[in-house]
């Protein structure tokens, strides 16, 4: 079907666009915890922001150490009420604590980016204020405000805003980790196996987060195209809504989320009155239990990045874009209006629609992404100094095409132009500690198959070396090159990144 061809082409362009945009390096190192516990970043990180098994347990426990005792916390918190007030409740407010020092850290990146056309000093590529901590035994929070700059075809783009902010209710029922609740704008546990915010490389997992079969006009400001959610249907690098998650029997993890999908709308934060849902389950064999419950008996290794374990996860994401009509506008000189003035997003579809419409035929002016489903598997293998992990995604988008009515609104449906668009993607990465604890390597292969029966449309390889100058200062030298028959310029990129967190 021609419409499928149009969408496929647009998806490629959307992917390439997103690939450049989402290479902003992650910022979820939290030096505030180094201060709280008077400990090095290496307690929880292999090379920040990548976590070791202990750090993963710490994160899952709501930023608390497994079996945490008072003496481990070197910055005593400020009590908002004596602990004994728990016995006075409900005749008093339940007591809690807040950090005695404001738990804010600064994370900054400086990126040298070299392509065929440009050599850019993107200084800084990111400056972020990261805050995370606990309030009492059952409440935790995480937030990040960031300023980011990106380079594309010799021009800079920058944005600033709240990237993440969430509140977590940890063990609210009978002090069990089986059920926890997260509310806000957060990195979902859906993508825990390949969380973009805790990756070792500069390059993001574009095969997971940057495949845009559809882009919403004007969505650049919310969600942040620097985080893979370039306004459209992709796995959410940042989700806004509610997420329930838990650990059962120490090693089985589950997640379920109810979130905004395509966003934003004209005057609303969510473009329609439907919500997207997702779920993930996983099991870990060997090593430190995800909830850290065996931390006191697990011998582990003096090299705290090492363990022998295997984790397997399965996930699904179900998007509902009913009632959202992505405009094809941006070519006003050709009489096509539409809501989008942002050529990076909505008008990609419009441009292709115009270019590929035969004379006399009605071109699709709007697309409605009625149903989007993604199913996937992910795995994580740790063995000595090696970490091999990856994910596979199987996706399907039900797209309905509409003409434009007189006056510029959504017109009649075009059944012949509508259809279901299927695609798959996967990546495989191997990270390794290269002899010294301060030297790390990563190799990744990823691909997106926009039509399963055809040759792969997107292939990329990434090779990266990271050196920890200090626990909180790192440099990364990385090369990402396209392996497919890409006709896009600047598709091979060399990065030299300097990062500092304090």
């Amino acid at each position: 079907m021609r419409s499928i061809q149009l969408v496929r082409t647009a998806a490629i362009l959307g992917l390439l666009l997103a690939m450049v945009l989402v290479t902003v390096t992650p910022a979820t190192a939290i030096p505030a915890f180094a201060r709280k516990y008077a400990t090095s970043c290496q307690t929880c990180h292999i090379a920040y922001p990548k976590l070791n098994a202990y750090g993963e347990a710490f994160r899952l426990l709501g930023y608390r150490s497994p079996g945490e005792t008072e003496d481990q916390v070197k910055q005593p918190p400020t009590a908002l009420g004596s602990d004994a007030y728990k016995r006075v409740w409900p005749n008093a407010v339940w007591p809690t604590t807040i950090p005695s020092h404001v738990p804010i850290a600064v994370v900054s990146q400086f990126l040298v980016q070299s392509t065929n056309e440009n050599d850019d000093f993107i200084f800084p590529s990111e400056v972020a204020l990261v805050a995370a901590g606990t309030s009492g035994n059952n409440i935790s929070y995480f937030g990040e405000i960031a300023f980011e700059q990106e380079a594309e075809d010799g021009t800079f783009d920058s944005e600033a805003g709240v990237e993440h902010i969430d509140v977590r209710f940890i063990r609210p029922i009978h002090n069990s980790l089986a059920f926890n609740l997260k509310v806000g704008a957060f990195q979902p546990e859906l993508v825990q196996g390949f969380d973009h915010a805790r990756r070792l490389t500069v390059a993001n997992y574009d095969s997971m987060f940057a495949v845009q079969t559809l882009a919403v006009g004007g969505a650049a400001e919310v969600g942040g195209h620097g985080h893979g959610s370039a306004g459209g249907i992709a796995l959410p690098a940042v989700a806004r809504g509610f997420e329930a998650y838990g650990v059962v029997n120490h090693r089985f993890q589950w997640t379920a989320g109810l979130v905004n999908g395509l966003e934003p709308g004209q005057d609303t934060f969510d473009a329609n009155d439907r919500k997207d849902t997702y779920g993930r389950v996983s099991y870990k064999w060997g090593g430190l239990a995800p909830d850290g419950s065996n931390a006191d008996t697990y011998a582990g290794s003096a090299k705290n990045w090492r363990e022998t374990s295997f984790e397997l996860g399965g996930f699904g994401y179900f998007g509902d874009g009913s009632g959202i009509f992505v405009p094809a506008g941006g070519h006003e000189d050709e009489g096509h209006g539409g809501g989008s003035a942002d050529e990076e997003h909505g008008s990609v579809m419009g441009s292709l629609a115009l270019a590929n419409t035969d004379p006399g035929e009605v071109a699709p002016a709007f697309l409605e992404p009625r149903d989007s489903t993604r199913y996937g598997l992910d795995f994580n293998l740790l063995y000595k100094d090696l970490n091999v992990f990856g994910a596979y995604l199987d996706a399907e988008d039900d797209l309905r095409a509409f003409a434009e009515e007189e006056g510029g609104g959504v017109g009649v449906p075009l059944p012949d132009e509508s259809g279901t668009f299927s695609w798959t993607s996967w990546f495989l990465e191997a990270d390794a500690v290269l002899k010294y604890p301060w030297l790390h390597g990563a190799v990744r292969y990823e691909t997106v198959d926009l039509a399963a029966a055809d040759a792969e449309d997107f292939e990329r390889a990434v090779v990266s070396v990271t050196g920890l100058v200090r626990a909180n200062v790192k440099t990364t030298l990385e090369y990402a090159w396209r392996l497919d028959d890409s006709e896009v310029e600047n598709d091979d990129v060399l990065w030299l990144n300097l990062g500092i967190a304090f």
Partner: protein
């Protein structure tokens, strides 16, 4: 004659003093509380060693700079505690602990005091309804022989009757321990709470 009498009296007095000293011992030691920042404020007491009359006996807990002083006050059962307000703001004193009668002494201003007699064994948390962060403990024990540990966890209890007694310890973080100790002369004991 007088010199002889004086000498005899002195000898008898010396013998009496020696006899008394021979029946009492000093118990010292160290308390280690696992998982907490400090070993201070643990209460150690000796049970089964007898008690003294507490009639008219009063001790003070003061309120100053939005803090109870001392943080932990051990008393023999039957002792009256005076809660004094030396602060420039009003304070309240209450406890939710039923072993102390879950009392609420109300609110009073600077210079005033209210009292409560702890007539049962109890570890009662003392709170202020106006300032929820304020906290103290009154530990009423059936013994006249008790002490509070210092920052190093060390304690000393004088005049403990010799013999085999149960030595108990308690910390505000809820840890407890006890040991049967044979106390003769200067005796040292170590106790570990929790862990």
């Amino acid at each position: 004659m007088n010199r002889k009498l004086v000498s005899m009296i002195a000898l008898v007095a010396a013998l009496a003093a020696t006899t008394t000293a021979a029946g009492a011992a000093t118990l010292t030691g160290k308390v280690t509380v696992s998982g907490v920042r400090s070993n201070a404020n643990a209460v150690v007491w000796v049970e089964g060693a007898g008690s003294e009359s507490t009639s008219g006996k009063t001790v003070v807990i003061d309120q100053k700079s939005l803090t109870f002083f001392p943080y932990v006050r051990p008393v023999q059962v039957g002792t009256t505690v005076e809660f004094l307000n030396s602060d420039s703001v009003s304070h309240n004193v209450f406890t939710p602990d039923k072993c102390a009668g879950a009392f609420n002494l109300g609110t009073w201003a600077k210079g005033q005091k209210r009292t409560h007699t702890f007539d049962k064994p109890c570890k009662a948390v003392i709170l202020c309804a106006i300032h929820p962060e304020m906290e103290a403990w009154v530990v009423a024990v059936p013994s006249a022989y008790f002490a509070v540990t210092d920052a190093d966890g060390a304690f000393e209890i004088d005049g403990v009757p010799e013999g085999s007694h149960e030595v108990k310890a308690w910390h505000p973080k809820g840890r407890e321990a006890s040991r049967e100790v044979s106390i003769t002369g200067d005796t040292e004991v170590e106790l570990t709470l929790g862990g």
